[in-house]
């Protein structure tokens, strides 16, 4: 057993690599899945889209959508990012017909990406029954070809990986989050692209984060992203550090924030992203998921799934998700690998958990041991093995209204 070393000193994970293969896309990216995406463009088309997709659950048909009727540049962009995501091989768009979403623009963008796409408009396709029949026929005509699509060799350096936590507990910052940070270091060293987020939970970490920035301009941008989150959440009236934290041994706000920040590991930070912006080069990135401008739509992200959606829009092939209380979520387009902070919840929910980080709290494994297991789980998922949430059919997806300004200067590596 290895010692609980904090940060890996060598470039490659120890164990033998699993053979990974990916689906080549016209833009040069490679997918680790070849999903057929059914996407509704307003809530009024949700039921029809679900009816179309539901017989093929388990066959790689995934359901996403945007519920709003009013136009949103943000939602338009995210839907385009998702419909042209490397894990997607073909797209069926389901429109009611009178919503404001620019469905033709989306269809053209998907077609331009080299993917098969169909636009089904319920009002002109025979209503619910006619649309479901037409939609299922379109899906069935494509499933066999998608399953037999050619693949090419895939390396860790082809992968974009997001890290996220939800339902954390007092051990998250001691066990599974540092282990994800260790895995992040291994992945970055192997040439992968990794992103972390939760600027609202990084208050107090900004100076440490700024010191990891590759340029002074980026250091300023990282600090600004955290300050923006701080003021946004302060205006919403959300608290920061409290008696519950102290009871569990956390002495300061910055120590509480370190629990989430631990997932970012120790490597230099190469840039700041906003949802839909793809990292231009491998390395480690902070994703800023807080709205720009005044507080407008309430809480920036209403749940963990919305944040995951945004990381997937920025190109994440898969998500490393840590939990203490025991989240069960997956995601529609990106496999989710779930790690839990304690063995008690792992025993209770083993069917949902890919990784038990509780062995660190049990004193029998180190951070490095669990981190190496996480990298192996990444390799297995990228090689096509379903994660626990995938095998259980999880397809969580949330997209709602937000606003972002373009990235400022110095946010991305040149």
């Amino acid at each position: 057993m290895n010692s609980p070393a904090p940060s890996p000193s060598t470039a490659s994970p120890a164990s033998a690599p699993v053979a990974m293969r990916g689906y080549p896309r016209a833009d040069g990216r490679k997918g680790i899945r070849n999903f057929l995406l059914v996407a509704y463009l307003v809530e009024c088309a949700h039921h029809v889209a679900r009816m179309i997709a539901s017989p093929y659950q388990g066959d790689g048909v995934q359901l996403i959508g945007f519920p709003g009727c009013y136009p949103s540049d943000y939602a338009q962009r995210v839907m385009e990012d998702l419909a042209t995501h490397p894990n997607v091989g073909a797209v069926l768009l389901v429109s009611l017909g009178c919503e404001e979403f620019q469905r033709t623009r989306l269809k053209e963008a998907i077609a331009a990406s080299g993917r098969e796409v169909e636009l089904l408009t319920i009002q002109s396709a025979g209503g619910t029954a006619g649309s479901v029949a037409k939609g299922r026929a379109w899906v069935e005509a494509r499933l066999a070809a998608l399953m037999a699509a050619p693949t090419v060799p895939l390396a860790l350096s082809d992968l974009v990986i997001g890290t996220k936590c939800g339902g954390s507990d007092g051990l998250s910052g001691v066990t599974i989050n540092p282990a994800v940070g260790y895995a992040s270091d291994l992945l970055v060293d192997a040439g992968a692209t990794v992103m972390f987020e939760e600027t609202c939970e990084l208050i107090g970490c900004e100076s440490h984060m700024a010191a990891r920035a590759t340029t002074p301009e980026l250091a300023a941008a990282l600090t600004a992203a955290v300050r923006k989150a701080d003021s946004y959440y302060t205006e919403l009236g959300h608290g920061s550090f409290g008696g519950g934290n102290i009871k569990y041994g956390l002495s300061t706000l910055e120590e509480k924030s370190l629990g989430a920040y631990a997932k970012s590991g120790s490597r230099p930070i190469s840039g700041v992203l906003k949802p839909g912006v793809r990292p231009p080069a491998p390395g480690l990135y902070l994703m800023d998921t807080v709205n720009d401008g005044p507080v407008r739509y309430g809480i920036p992200n209403i749940n963990d799934t919305q944040t995951i959606t945004e990381m997937v829009a920025s190109g994440c092939h898969l998500i490393l998700f840590t939990t203490g209380a025991g989240s069960v979520v997956g995601q529609a387009l990106a496999p989710v690998i779930k790690g839990v902070s304690n063995s008690r919840v792992f025993a209770r929910m083993e069917g949902d958990m890919d990784i038990n980080g509780g062995t660190i709290a049990d004193g029998i494994e180190g951070v490095a041991d669990v981190g190496a297991r996480i990298v192996e789980a990444v390799r297995a998922a990228a090689a096509g093995q379903p994660t626990k949430s995938e095998a259980l059919g999880h397809q969580e997806f949330v997209l709602s209204y937000k606003t972002y300004e373009p990235l400022g200067p110095g946010c991305l590596p040149v």
Partner: protein
């Protein structure tokens, strides 16, 4: 608590001056990491709480997982509990209204 021979404390990164108790450690008990670092707890260290791994002078950073998470408000001998009574935040005054 834990398995025989299991660690009851973790040092999250090599340069840290605090360890984290993985289980409740009694006053006078031994706090030991998986890689063999051990010291005597000079007072009870509850699970999840910090123990000074070496003497931390007043004004020095409390370093956990490579990051300064606070400043020592007094000299803290090795083996002592490190918590709100002897740590100050750089960001919030612990005595003020950010407590729930």
């Amino acid at each position: 608590m834990g398995e025989a021979g299991a660690a009851n404390m973790i040092r999250l990164a090599a340069g840290d001056n605090v360890g984290i108790a993985l289980v409740d450690i009694a006053s006078g008990g031994t706090a030991a990491t998986l890689d063999g670092f051990a010291l005597t707890a000079l007072e009870a260290i509850p699970q999840g709480h910090k123990i000074a791994l070496l003497p931390i002078p007043q004004g020095a950073d409390i370093v956990r997982l490579r990051m300064a998470v606070g400043i020592a408000r007094a000299d803290i001998p090795a083996g002592r509990l490190v918590h709100v009574h002897n740590v100050a935040s750089r960001y919030l005054n612990n005595d003020q209204d950010h407590y729930e």
